[in-house]
């Protein structure tokens, strides 16, 4: 059975004096135990809202619909109490900004030990030992001595490691990481990506990784789902997606990546235009206005996510044949 199965997840925000915003629009995916899924898209594509909806951390005015089955239970219908028993326990989460995501008034030890004391019956000493172990697993130097320090005494990269340790200390089955490397230096980014890969391999923790950085997704994920304007446009294995993307948007994203081996001297390729504004009504395909191949059905009918003709495990939502987009890949 799949560890996580999401069906038709939608998140809508009602607004006063303005049309409602469909932040997440009919997303479906599933995740097996031990696998990593990358969710890729621009800012505002709904990636974060998708996972926030899964663990129940939405804003008060969010209307969530659909089904999200984790270990057989629908997360979207659980009470706050039941969710609290899963969060930090079977599902761990790492957030984007390590500088503000740790409580500055509590020591690292206190924050690491907390999920253990909450969700497991362990003594204080045992919890401390496990916390130090977790820190060592994320390669934090001198863990035993530094565990009683406050977060502001650590650098950004180290704080992110602490966050990861904190999410993993209860050995969750699923780890969700929302842009874990975005706020960090490039060299530190690489270290964190390596760390996550190592943890996935050694502990068998399933992961959902949200990023707008294609390189990070490529280095870490088994499958990748590309989102645009709250909708899925393409979903395939990482190998397939990066070798032969079949959606014009994905192709556009790949082309926009600056490459060291490009000696043509061409200007950087950007995708013309901008994503739909929040609350803007969309007819047809959300990407149509920016798509170089847009045809008549694209402007009027919303494309449905369908299995690709060529491969079992690739999905795309596009009216055009796959070949049309692949041809643009530079």
């Amino acid at each position: 059975m799949d560890l996580l199965e999401v069906e038709n997840l939608s998140v809508r925000f009602a607004r006063r004096d303005a049309p409602a915003v469909d932040a997440v629009d009919d997303i479906s995916f599933s995740l097996d135990a031990g696998r990593t899924l990358g969710i890729v898209g621009e800012s505002g594509s709904g990636k974060s809202q998708t996972v926030l909806a899964l663990i129940g951390l939405m804003a008060a005015n969010a209307q969530v619909s659909g089904r999200a089955s984790f270990e057989g239970r629908d997360l979207l219908t659980l009470s706050e109490r039941a969710l609290n028993q899963l969060r930090g326990n079977r599902i761990g989460m790492v957030f984007q900004d390590p500088m503000t995501s740790l409580n500055p008034f509590l020591t690292v030890e206190q924050q690491l030990v907390e999920p253990l004391r909450l969700h497991r019956k362990v003594s204080r000493r045992e919890a401390r030992a496990r916390a130090i172990e977790a820190l060592e697993r994320v390669h934090l130097p001198d863990a035993a001595r530094r565990i009683c320090r406050y977060p502001h005494e650590f650098s950004g990269g180290m704080r992110q490691r602490v966050m990861i340790a904190m999410a993993l200390v209860t050995e969750p089955r699923l780890l969700i990481a929302d842009e874990p490397t975005t706020a960090l230096d490039v060299t530190v980014q690489a270290q964190i990506v390596d760390l996550l890969r190592e943890l996935n391999r050694e502990c068998g923790t399933a992961m959902i990784l949200i990023t707008h950085d294609m390189g990070v997704a490529a280095g870490l994920c088994d499958e990748v789902m590309v989102m645009y304007a709250g909708r899925t446009v393409e979903h395939a294995s990482a190998l397939q997606l990066f070798a032969a993307p079949t959606h014009p948007y994905t192709v556009g994203l790949m082309n926009a990546l600056p490459r060291l081996d490009d000696e043509s001297g061409r200007p950087l390729a950007a995708i013309a235009g901008h994503p739909p504004l929040p609350g803007e009504a969309i007819e047809g395909c959300a990407f149509a206005k920016r798509c170089p191949h847009a045809g008549e059905p694209c402007m009027t009918t919303r494309p449905v996510l369908r299995r690709s003709a060529d491969s079992e495990d690739a999905w795309r939502a596009c009216h055009l044949p796959a070949a049309a987009a692949v041809g643009d890949l530079q």
Binding site: A272, G273, H274, L277, K289, R290, C291, P292, E296
Partner: protein, 301 residues
Amino acid sequence: MAITTSPSQRMRDGFADAPKTKSPLALAFSRFARNRAALASLAVLVVIGLACYAAPLLIGRDPAESDWSAIAFPPTLLGGHWLGTDELGRDLLVRILVGGRISLEIGLLGTLVAGVVGVTYGACAGYFGGRVDAVMMRIVDMMYAIPYMLIAILMMTLFGREFHLVVLTISAFSWLDMARVVRGQTLSLRTREFVDAARAIGVTPWSIVARHIVPNLVGIVVVYATVMVPGIVLTESVLSFLGLGVQEPMTSWGVLIQDGAQKLEAMPWLLLGPAAMLCITLYCVNFIGDGLRDAFDTKDY
């Protein structure tokens, strides 16, 4: 069928349908207009203001005039004295309205003086920055530590209780908050990117101040001014309550309240009338202040 316009052209067409946004000031105005409590308060205040100045003339009674046929009467709707009279037969309503003139005038004048001083001081400190700012703020810190009520009491007893002196005494310590707030805002504005950008394209310092800093100050100054008014009216009332405010024959709400507090057992309406008036006025100013603060607050978008 292929689309013949380019993606960028399509995008520009799309933009033409994008919702038009208003300027921040217009936005603030419309948000304020939507705040019913604030609008109602504004209306009530206007009514009170008009009443204080016009009504005594309409009623035709003098506040010092004694009606010997109606001594110590409780409020009655029929007959002349709507809010009752005191032990000398003076009509309470008229006294409250006339006293209101003084309280309101002191409130507005005091706010004006304290506001001007505070804004100037704060803007200078924030704009010049560095040592000038440090010294100026040190002085403010020192003044904060001084128990101004004691000094105010002292000054009232030493210099007499003439109207303008009362205003000056009260304003002397009320400008500190405004100065601090304006200084903070000026400092942060001065170092913001758009100022750097303006300077980079060659805008003169004076133009920067006029077009970038001042409009951003307006919001916060207006909000703080409304916060200051109740404080100043209250300070005057406290001084009057202690017998150290404006002198006879002038009266203010504070004086009337003190009078009423002393005669509480026999004539409770003497306290309730002016107290209610004072509190309604303060409440309205608070609502307007809240409304203005919400209207100018950009975080709620």
